[in-house]
């Protein structure tokens, strides 16, 4: 039995890599990972490791009832896929649309699996 798309994605993250799928038939990236390409219907999807570079597409600051406000953003990765994430190492209100960012692995405490966050890529635009 083949590993699920989620399990493969997580196994890349476990190695510190941000992975996505490439659809040769559609000639474009697919994200989130899945069994069927939504652009071509093909079940042939290849795994690729992203450069980890991208730009903020949309951003908000969520204010929980308890605890500090935090950023939630959509990131357009340079390989042509978009994902939800968070921009860290910066005041969440200072995250700007179009800002260049770089992937960083976040390891939550406990049993939660690692996930991607992004940090500003200074000096680059």
């Amino acid at each position: 039995m083949e590993a699920s798309p989620l399990a493969v994605y997580q196994s890349y993250l476990d190695k510190g890599e941000l992975a996505y799928q490439w659809s040769p038939q559609a000639g474009r990236a697919v994200f989130y990972p899945r069994l069927v390409c939504p652009y071509s219907g093909s079940t042939q999807l290849e795994w690729r490791v992203a450069s980890g570079l991208g730009a903020v597409y949309a951003t908000t600051v969520t204010h929980p009832q308890q605890g500090e406000p935090y950023n939630v953003a959509l990131i357009d990765c340079d390989e042509g896929f978009r994902l939800m994430s968070r921009v860290e190492d910066i005041d969440p209100m200072q995250v700007r649309i179009g800002m260049r960012v770089r992937f960083r692995l976040h390891k939550p405490p406990g049993d939660e699996p690692p996930y991607s966050v992004f940090v500003p890529l200074e000096g680059a635009r």
């Binding site: 989620l6 989130y32 597409y57 949309a58 951003t59 908000t60 600051v61 969520t62 204010h63 929980p64 406000p69 935090y70 939630v72 953003a73 959509l74 978009r82 994902l83 939800m84 994430s85 968070r86 209100m93 649309i97 179009g98 939550p108 939660e112 996930y115």
Partner: protein, 384 residues
């Protein structure tokens, strides 16, 4: 074209159930049944006349079964399509098709929710998405806030312009005796309220209430012999663009562009022909997005369009005349209330908030996180 006939069905009954904070122990099926009983009375029909049943709620997995049992009916046609708050506009299109094909003769569309009484978490269990949940988006607010950020970035839309939407809704609500909110609201109060997900404060976000209701549709022939003047279904359209906000193709353009195009084409009408506009305002950005996508103003101009009281009582375009999800009632899937208000406006039943000489109305439903869009255009006998 979608194969539906302009004027192929008419709405003959419309009613809310109890709203706001309902009596302890009432459940969503109670509210659906209460809505149907009131809508049947409104139409001059009996429960046993209903042979088509369409309903949706997040609080009952098999609401069609539970509601049929409760009412003691065995519908020939049943449809429990659930696509979020727009479900009931989808139901209208499906009911028109079923009536046109003779699958039923009298179709009831019902909704019920006790989310205020039981709490949002229990009323609508949040699904885990491994690609979003780790970032703790406060859904749906965070998703709509992301869309608002994009609109502000691309078109210069301001928080003050968003607040105009909330203030206009409140002014309409003050004219609606059953609206939840009873006090005036200012732009400053919206801006200074508790921040939830920037740029939204709690006043940019819909209410959390209980509530439900029903509408009843039948064939145009049968509609003529009933109690109230029929309200004809002139156009229907729908579009689904995504489920999760991270998969929405363009956060500034919704499926309302497509659903509106279909509905206008079927109705043979355009935005300039619409007298009353009822838009799903779960968040202040929604009203702006849908005014643009449904052609009431150009893309990007929604913010300035709503400014200066343009959509408030006495403004150029009456929008969300019941007070909207922002100030009247929002039990979670609000779409049905837009249809009820549109029907009442076209019958001239709206008292202090009545739009003069209203002959046409648009009721636009939104579901998920701008995910499902469904548009219904309604008209009086004069439009047929």
């Amino acid at each position: 074209m979608n194969g539906l006939k302009r004027g192929g069905a008419a709405i003959v009954g419309a009613a809310e159930s109890d709203l706001g904070h309902v009596a302890d122990g009432l459940n969503p099926i109670d509210l659906m049944a209460q809505g149907i009983a009131r809508a049947a009375e409104d139409a001059g029909l009996r429960l046993r006349d209903i042979d088509g049943l369409l309903c949706a709620t997040t609080q009952s997995r098999t609401s069609g079964l539970n509601l049929s049992e409760y009412l003691g009916i065995s519908p020939r046609y049943i449809d429990t399509t659930i696509l979020g708050g727009s479900s009931f506009m989808f139901h209208v299109a499906h009911a028109v098709a079923a009536l046109q094909l003779g699958l039923c003769e009298v179709a009831a569309i019902a909704y019920g929710s006790t989310q205020r009484s039981v709490g949002r978490r229990q009323a609508s269990v949040r699904e885990i998405n491994p690609f979003e949940t780790p970032y703790r988006p406060f859904l749906p607010s965070t998703a709509y806030a992301l869309a608002a950020s994009r609109h502000m970035h691309e078109f210069g839309t301001s928080r003050e312009q968003l607040a105009e939407v909330a203030v206009a809704a409140r002014q309409w609500a003050l004219l609606n005796p059953v609206a939840w909110e009873k006090k005036p609201l200012t732009i400053e109060e919206v801006l200074n309220a508790r921040m939830v997900s920037y740029p939204f404060t709690v006043r940019d976000i819909c209410l959390v209430t209980d509530g439900g209701g029903a509408i009843i549709l039948t064939t145009p022939e049968r509609a003529r012999s009933l109690k109230k003047p029929p309200v004809h279904v002139l156009g229907c359209g729908s579009a689904i663009t995504h489920a999760n906000i991270s998969s929405m193709p363009d956060l500034t353009v919704t499926g309302a562009l497509e659903s509106g195009r279909q509905a206008y084409a079927m109705a043979g009408l355009g935005p300039k022909d619409i007298d009353v506009v009822e838009l799903y305002d779960a968040f202040t950005i929604n009203t702006i997005l849908f005014l643009e996508d449904l052609g009431f103003c150009a893309k990007g101009e929604g913010g300035s369009f709503v400014s200066g009281g343009r959509i408030a009582p006495g403004g150029a375009l009456p929008v969300n005349t019941n007070g909207g999800g922002l100030s009247y009632c929002h039990p979670g899937m609000y779409g049905l209330f837009l249809l009820i208000e549109a029907v009442r406006q076209l019958r001239g039943e709206c008292g202090a908030r009545q739009v003069k000489d209203a002959e046409t109305a648009i009721a636009h439903g939104n579901g998920g996180v701008l995910s499902s869009q469904s548009t219904v255009i309604l008209g009086t006998a004069a439009t047929i």
